[in-house]
Amino acid sequence: MAFYVLLEWVISLLLIAGGVFAFVGSLGMLQFKDFFMRLHGPTKGTTLGIGCILMASMVYFSVVQPGIHVQELLITLFLFITAPVTGHMLAKTGLHMHLRYTRDTRGSPPELRDEDVGQGRVERPPRPRRPASEGQKRRWRLRR
């Protein structure tokens, strides 16, 4: 009996941890200042959050239904493999499109070479000058 109580605790803990991690990941995406910082929330927080929730589902169904249920592992593994790939591609797209980054960013990304992205039909926006003009600064502050 105590075993089931313990399992219930584990499942509840996993569920809440998953929810909190997903929430924090999305919160990071909402509140950070520039695109590259926003990228950090979903790639880490949300991925682990859903991993926790899938684990909880796995344990729960293994307890209440006959047999062992490990199909959730499939989704978990898939997400853990694809999330970094998505993050990488999004970051590369951001670099390619010359998205702005906050002024306190240290170091600057090098210009992507043609061989890194290939010749596309989508026009690349021109690279903005690093010291922004007054109007740009105002817009930047508005944009957060």
Binding site: E8, W9, I11, S12, L13, L15, I16, G18, G19, V20, A22, F23, G25, S26, L27, M29, L30, F35, R38, L39, G41, P42, T46, T47, G49, I50, I53, L54, A56, S57, Y60, F61, V64, Q65, H69, Q71, E72, L74, I75, F78, L79, T82, A83, V85, T86, M89, L90, K92, T93, G94, H96, M97, L99, V117, G118, Q119, G120, R121, V122, R143
Partner: protein, 89 residues
């Protein structure tokens, strides 16, 4: 207790989805919106799994896996389009 945990988790995921939608609406550039969409996919998988737990059924498992795969492929496709102007070369 399980019910309470489930409710808390559901509330957090729904709040996360709301924030994603806010970013989707506000996002100044295309990659921001793309990131928001991708996160919406992942969060909706969580929502579906929680629904399965709530209803005590595994019927929705396939839906979750389909969303995971389609979400990844579509995000990749849009990224590739933005990067190279072509999806299949």
């Amino acid at each position: 207790m399980l019910d309470t945990a489930l409710w808390i988790s559901l509330a957090l995921i729904v709040a996360a989805l709301a924030m994603n939608v806010a970013r989707l609406a506000r996002g100044p550039d295309i990659p921001d919106r793309l990131l928001a969409l991708d996160t919406i996919y992942v969060n909706s998988i969580a929502l579906i799994v929680l629904l399965g737990l709530w209803l005590n059924t595994k019927v929705y498992f396939e839906a979750a896996i389909l969303i995971a795969m389609l979400g990844f492929v579509s995000t990749m496709a849009i990224c590739r389009y933005l990067l190279r102007g072509d999806i299949i070369e």
